[in-house]
């Protein structure tokens, strides 16, 4: 028995414990509990199919749906290739090459993450539309601007979303490239590959889990987006979801449509995973990151220029525009309450980021302890929610909390004879849990891809030396996961700061944040007045980005 167990133990697909079940069940129980909380709102969305069919469906199918599906497909393909090229390319340049300004761009290229997509969309449309300053100047100079490409177009929306979402790919690819170090590349070089070939044939395939995770996040965000596409008046599948809800007051049809969206995402994720096959991505050897490829001449200029243009359009121009607007409204709108908004935003962001990253590590680690289909399926399902339009998921979360509240109050009445009304709904805890639910996918991606790069034999060695599950996690895994965990926490932090629908619906009385301020102003179209909270949001977002950069540099450089 023991000999066969140790024999199997060398097979990584059996996990750290092999076939020995060393106290795995509490971990599995905790993981399943987390997965259940995260999955409940998604199940509620799917449950809409149990209701009766409405006339909304045939109407949508006969009129707008075909066009919307086409638009959505174009958007996914466009944004998908855009974020891949921009994210991976820039990550490669800043980690593996040396060019003027590299040390600046290395962290600065993450900054666009702090700018909500709809803000970027509003600024870009405002600048480049017919009535905007750019075309206005063209008309002053040339008399006509009819040759100017329309910004409210397919190309425009793809460009804006690429610029808004490439940092996901950039960040995760960068972490992966850094983890690889130069020695694998040097091996390639010794074997006669050119730098370009060693990138294509070694670095890129090795970074695949991270890049796939980044693109998945960017595309899920694209699918869920309603703000940016509506500024471009570009109708996507999400437009149909909101049309069913707000236009036809048919939340059931909206939820049915949303569940189809999830099904599509699930299939895409499974296909990607299948295509990776049984390839594994562990890293061996020492992590050395110097020397970089020194770019010279036009290559160096090109690298600096590309990074500079991306930085300019995705960050500097929108921030400058926001600053101009904010200056106009600052006198009337800026008051002491902004300290409170600022504090609330940071407080919620920090707690939610910690909580979500912790839960993600727990889920990923449980799977490593004992890779089982049930755990895997539960996790996969739980991370789908990110592709849901925010308001739909927020209502799902709210419904599951109200249900929990009813169970709590029933129990309290039956057992303690105490009458409670609402313990969870409208409490701070509910809001934090809502963030965990909404952003689990964001945290799970980086954590899981970081785990992929740890050799299972390392953890198995710790086990054979008698380490407990807790010790393997705390003393072996987490030190190696640090970069991935930190990326996860940072992403969640920034997302929570920008998050609107769940915050609006579930915040306790008086817990206004910077994002809810933006909502208050934009709800009646006062975009210029929204600039003040938006700018404050960007400034708050700089804190974690700078922290991340300092940390990753001190760790790897």
């Amino acid at each position: 028995m023991s000999s066969s167990a140790s024999h199997r133990n060398t097979r990584p697909e059996l996990g750290i414990s092999g076939s020995l079940d060393v106290g795995v069940w509490p971990w599995r129980l905790a993981s399943l509990a987390i997965a259940a909380i995260v999955a409940a709102p998604i199940l509620i969305v799917f449950a809409a199919w149990l209701g009766p069919a409405t006339e909304t469906w045939p109407h949508l199918v006969n009129t707008v749906l075909p066009g919307l599906l086409r638009n959505t497909l174009v958007l996914i393909l466009g944004v998908g290739s855009g974020v891949f090229l921009l994210g991976v390319g820039l990550a490669w340049l800043t980690t593996m090459c040396e060019f003027p300004g590299r040390r600046f761009f290395e962290w600065a290229l993450m900054l666009p993450l702090a700018i909500p997509a709809y803000v970027l969309a509003f600024v870009v449309v405002g600048l480049f539309d017919y009535s905007g300053p750019v075309q206005g100047t063209m008309r002053d100079w040339f008399g006509s601007s009819s040759w100017f490409p329309s910004v409210r177009s397919e190309g425009g929306v793809i460009l804006v979303m690429t610029l808004a979402f490439y940092p996901y790919v950039y960040m995760l690819a960068r972490t992966a490239f850094m983890g690889q170090g130069r020695n694998v590349l040097d091996t390639g070089r010794v074997l006669g590959l050119s730098p370009w070939a060693s990138f294509l044939r070694i670095s890129l395939p090795m970074a695949r889990p991270a890049i796939a995770a980044g693109i998945a996040l960017a595309l899920m965000e694209t699918l869920a987006d309603f703000g940016a596409v509506s500024i471009f008046n570009y109708d996507t599948f999400t437009t149909a979801i909101y049309k069913a809800w707000f236009g036809f007051f048919d939340l059931a049809a909206a939820a049915q449509l949303a569940s189809l969206l999830l099904l599509f995402v699930a299939v895409a994720l499974v296909v990607e995973k299948q295509m990776r096959g049984r390839a594994r991505y562990e890293v061996t050897g020492k992590l050395v990151n110097e020397p970089r490829f020194h770019l010279i001449g036009w290559r160096a200029a090109g690298a600096s220029l590309t990074a500079g243009i991306v930085m300019l359009v995705a960050f500097i121009i929108p921030v400058a525009k926001l600053a101009m607007w904010a200056w106009e409204s600052a006198l009337s709108d800026l008051d002491m309450r902004y300290f409170r908004f600022f504090f609330n935003t940071l407080f919620l962001g920090t707690l939610a980021a910690g909580l979500t990253a912790f839960a993600a590590v727990l889920l990923a680690y449980t799977y490593r302890l004992r890779p089982e289909h049930l755990t895997r399926a539960a996790i996969r399902f739980a991370t789908l929610g990110y592709a849901l339009p925010g308001s739909v998921l927020a209502v799902g979360i709210m419904l599951s909390f109200v249900w929990l509240d009813q169970q709590i109050s029933n129990t309290a009445l039956a057992v303690f004879d105490v009458k409670l009304t609402q313990v969870l709904t409208g409490s701070l805890l509910a809001l934090l849990l809502a963030y965990v639910v909404r952003f689990m996918a964001v945290a799970y991606g980086p954590v899981d891809s970081a785990f992929e790069r740890i050799k299972p034999s390392l953890l198995q060695a710790a086990r054979s030396l008698g380490a407990s599950n807790w010790q393997i996690l705390w003393r072996v895994s987490i030190p190696m996961l640090r970069a991935g965990m930190f990326s996860a926490a940072l992403l969640v932090f920034v997302e929570v700061m920008k998050e609107m629908p769940a915050t609006l619906l579930l915040r306790p009385f008086g817990w206004d944040t910077l994002a809810t301020r933006i909502f208050e102003m934009t709800a009646e179209g006062e975009w210029e007045r929204a600039a003040l909270p938006a700018l404050t949001l960007v400034l708050a977002g700089l804190i974690p980005v700078v922290m991340l950069v300092r940390r990753s540099n001190s760790r790897w450089a």
């Binding site: 405002g126 419904l399 109200v402 409208g426 909502f519």
Partner: protein
């Protein structure tokens, strides 16, 4: 370990609703889809006048209604405030409001601006009217919303997206007056006359008229007021259409007492106060809308645009016919 556990437990309890103080008798809870900077002045003024404190959260109307529905009898909310008659009508349909019989409200709010079943009451009026370029259009060329479908406006019309509820309400009341067939014709005419793709908001539509991309459009007056304040020499003006026929299309922002209000009487009292001159004045000034109470004068800038005949069709039609309107706009290709 014990210290850790205790502190985590304490934190958890602090974060739940266990310790939230029981509501005081003179307190109201409001769910508002009208934004904070527009409702807070009202709440503050009422607290000063009556001593009743008000707690509130803001969100879009759709999610707030779902929350009211889900919370049922447990809801802390006493009052729902929202913009657009369609949303108010829907709230009544969903059964989250209750009827209020009040002589004060019946006297202060005209019949076409409140629910026939008294579940909600319009508090401020928003007129959706025609804007035109003072450079390229003479007001004598304009007459009705329907006329914007005629061939003389070919490539000269700008519209906001049909996804905005304001346009859905406009088309819904058109269906109520003209019937589906005639409305269908009008909307097809509008779409055929569009100078460019529809806009995502009223302000950029007016800026397009100013820049010369098109000559006429349809907007809510308070967006015009805001832009005019910022650019006093704006070459865009308001026109009151349908004065010989049905009148200018109006919509409301309004409120209703929730079905399970814990402080029903005090909620009714607050609602009544909202219809009185002091509150109506704040409502009208804060967003350049028209007061629902006809005894109260609008803001001076708003008054300077002149008075007009408004459509007296009950605004609840906007809700009743909203789905028909959206379907019609989808069919006619009005994005």
């Amino acid at each position: 370990m014990k210290v850790w556990l205790t502190s985590i437990l304490t934190l958890l309890v602090w974060m739940t609703g266990f310790l939230v103080p029981a509501q005081a008798a003179d307190e109201l809870v409001v769910y508002s889809a009208r934004n904070e900077q527009l409702v807070r002045p009202l709440f503050d003024a009422y607290t000063r006048a009556s001593g009743t404190s008000i707690r509130f959260i803001t969100d879009k109307a759709g999610p707030l209604m779902q929350r009211l529905k889900a919370e049922g009898a447990n809801t802390p909310a006493d009052l729902l405030i929202t913009v657009d008659a369609g949303n108010l009508w829907r709230a009544a349909e969903e059964g989250v409001l209750q009827p209020v019989k009040s002589a004060v409200l019946s006297k202060n709010i005209p019949a076409h601006l409140r629910d026939p079943g008294n579940q909600w009451f319009g508090l401020s009026v928003r007129a959706r009217t025609i804007v035109y370029s003072t450079v390229r259009v003479k007001p004598s060329e304009l007459s009705t919303y329907e006329d914007l479908a005629s061939a003389k406006w070919k490539k000269r019309l700008c519209l906001r997206t049909s996804k905005k509820v304001y346009n859905q309400s406009l088309v819904a009341t058109m269906i109520a007056r003209l019937g589906e067939e005639k409305t269908d014709e009008v909307i097809r005419g509008w779409v055929a006359n569009l100078a460019t793709d529809v806009f995502s908001n009223d302000t950029s539509l007016m800026q397009a008229i100013e820049a010369g991309q098109c000559d006429v459009g349809i907007v809510n007056t308070y967006y015009y007021g805001r832009l005019k304040k910022k650019q006093p020499n704006l070459d865009v003006a308001l026109f009151w259409p349908n004065q010989e026929t049905s009148g200018v299309h109006v919509n409301v922002s309004g409120a209703g007492v929730t079905r399970y209000a814990k402080h029903r009487d005090s909620a009714v009292k607050f609602l009544e106060w909202l219809s009185t001159p002091p509150a109506q004045k704040i409502l009208a000034e804060s967003n350049m809308e028209y007061p629902a109470n006809p005894q109260v004068k609008p803001d001076p800038l708003v008054a300077s645009w002149g008075s007009f005949k408004q459509d007296t069709l009950n605004v609840s039609n906007a809700g009743k016919l909203q789905s028909s309107a959206v379907m019609l706009m989808d069919r006619t290709g009005y994005r």
